[in-house]
């Protein structure tokens, strides 16, 4: 199915009229982000993992580490590979099969934010005295889709990377350079903020219904110093220069708040409907 869902005309009008008055269907203000719940270390078979709930959207990111070859143009650096699977369990709009453009866009936008901010210290992932490097596999699985996968995925991935142990002892066993396990070195904490244009208003952290009727979408990823690290305009629709400036401003401000949650010892946790995941 396409990214466009059929939505009742009456609902479309309702959402549009509310937004003209600065209101949203779930009671939020246009620049308000839904409650975020971050639960790290939920998968024992993964080297790192986190479940994130962003309102009704829920997503799991898992990290696996393997030994592999570096890219020919950066032989002293480890490798990161990001994949997203839009499994049909998460939404009636997702279909099984090979990754479609939508899943690839999600993985690549999250990847860019992490990669371009230098979040992972890839130089620390070279195996000393060997041609090999550690490969970081980042896998994203939405399990409940209510809009804005980009931001939920970025939070989940950066949190999962923060709790990733590199199983170096096992991976280098028997080789010349026997290493000890170590914590994956994280240098920066990129956060993305996504908005969609409904009528003349930029609406942050859209729900599924809002995405269904929206025009253009813009994702802006910023770092701790307030610099821009990745951007993506998506969907059919137009943005003004003012819209873009506004989104950059929002991303820096909201990014600070989310980064605070990420770094907090006690993660904000909406009472879970089910035990561990």
């Amino acid at each position: 199915m396409s990214e466009e869902n059929v939505i009742a005309e009456i609902k479309r009008d309702y959402i549009n009229n509310l937004i003209k008055r600065g209101k949203r269907i779930d009671g939020r203000k246009p620049d308000e982000i839904r409650d975020i719940s971050i639960t790290p270390n939920i998968i024992e078979t993964a080297e790192g993992s986190t479940r994130v709930k962003l309102g009704g959207t829920e997503l799991i990111a898992g990290i696996k580490i393997a030994l592999g070859e570096p890219y020919p143009d950066s032989k002293d650096k480890g490798v990161m590979i990001t994949t997203a699977e839009l499994i049909p369990l998460a939404s009636p709009d997702f279909e099984s099969g090979p990754p479609r453009p939508r899943a690839i866009e999600l993985a690549r936008v999250v990847d860019r934010g992490i990669r371009e901010s230098g979040a992972i210290d890839l130089k620390a992932l070279k195996v000393p005295g060997s041609d090999k490097v550690f490969v970081v596999f980042i896998d994203i699985y939405p399990v409940d889709m209510d809009g804005n996968l980009f931001d939920a995925a970025t939070i989940a991935v950066i949190s999962a990377l923060m709790n990733t142990r590199v199983p170096a002892a096992e991976l280098t066993a028997g080789s010349e350079t026997q290493m000890q396990d170590f914590q994956l070195p994280i240098k920066y904490y990129p956060i993305s903020i996504t908005g969609v244009k409904i009528g003349d208003t930029m609406v942050l952290d859209p729900t599924q219904e809002e995405e269904d009727i929206a025009g253009a979408r813009l994702t802006v990823t910023t770092d701790v110093d307030g610099n821009i690290r990745a951007m993506q305009k998506g969907r059919i629709g137009r943005l003004s220069v003012e819209d873009i400036d506004y989104m950059v401003e929002c991303s820096i401000e909201k990014g600070k708040e989310i980064r605070k949650l990420l770094m907090a010892e006690e993660k904000p946790s909406v009472p879970s409907q089910y035990p561990v995941l």
């Binding site: 829920e58 994949t83 369990l89 089910y274």
Partner: protein, 238 residues
């Protein structure tokens, strides 16, 4: 692999301290997802599984429709990080076969004739695997179907038994599965005792088979109570 993995301890208990006929701890939660029509989350030992149901809904393409009944379409898959060595995402021969036998087991209790030309989609995603994922997935999917309100003759319950060090044991753990001599996953309709899924590999004498089968069937009745309990908790009056 070590030369000789010792699966039974001196005191007759298994490596994880279970008796030969003891299940691993099981937790079931019904109705955990918003988007799906029905869902269930299940932990069984270290297995972590989500099941979601969509439907009965219109089936596309139309030539796949059956004008007499609903099609039951099951997809079992494992997350890339659910196993020690990263699994490549996407279907493989193993998960395709498991999807087929689970879907057939579920179809045997669904009133498919009430929903001609539709499809009931069953999605099972294993996020953490520890042997016995197909019985865990099927047990969760059955609860999810009930949560979705899909008309069914009964719930289905699944469990495996097997053989380690010449002893028939219930519900093999990962080490037991890897180094064991036989595995017998089964699913039954607890209300009738009929069997709707059975696979086996390894080596069992006919006597051992009957013992393993009875052990798995008996355990299914324990798990059936947990399934019903999960649904009652979900739909209990406040």
């Amino acid at each position: 692999m070590n030369k000789e993995v010792k699966l039974l301890r001196e005191d007759g208990l298994r490596l994880d301290g279970r008796r030969y006929d003891e299940l691993r701890p099981i937790k079931i939660e019904a109705g955990v997802l918003n988007r799906a029509d029905g869902s269930a989350y299940l932990e069984w030992g270290s297995n972590k599984v989500l099941a979601a149901i969509y439907g009965p809904r219109e089936l596309h393409p139309r030539h796949m429709q059956n004008s007499m009944k609903a099609i039951v379409r099951c997809k079992y898959s494992m997350a890339s990080f659910s196993v020690p060595d990263r699994k490549r995402p996407g279907p493989d021969r193993r998960s395709t076969e498991i999807s087929k036998v689970i879907g057939e087991a579920l179809e045997s209790v669904i009133f498919t004739e009430q929903f001609p030309r539709t499809v009931v989609d069953v999605f099972i995603e294993v996020f953490q695997a520890d042997a016995g994922t197909r019985v865990a997935g099927l047990t969760a999917a059955s609860v999810a179907l009930a949560d979705a309100g899909v008309p069914m003759k009964a719930l289905i319950t699944a469990c495996a038994a097997g053989k380690v060090e010449d002893t028939v044991v219930l519900d093999l753990g990962k080490l037991e599965d890897n180094a064991g001599q036989a595995d017998l996953p089964m699913a039954i309709i607890p209300t009738t005792g009929e069997i709707v899924l059975m696979q086996m590999d390894g080596h069992l004498t006919p006597a051992e088979f009957r013992k393993a089968r009875d052990m798995a069937v008996n355990a299914c009745y324990q798990i059936y109570e947990m399934q019903k309990d999960a649904l009652k908790r979900r739909y209990a009056a406040e």
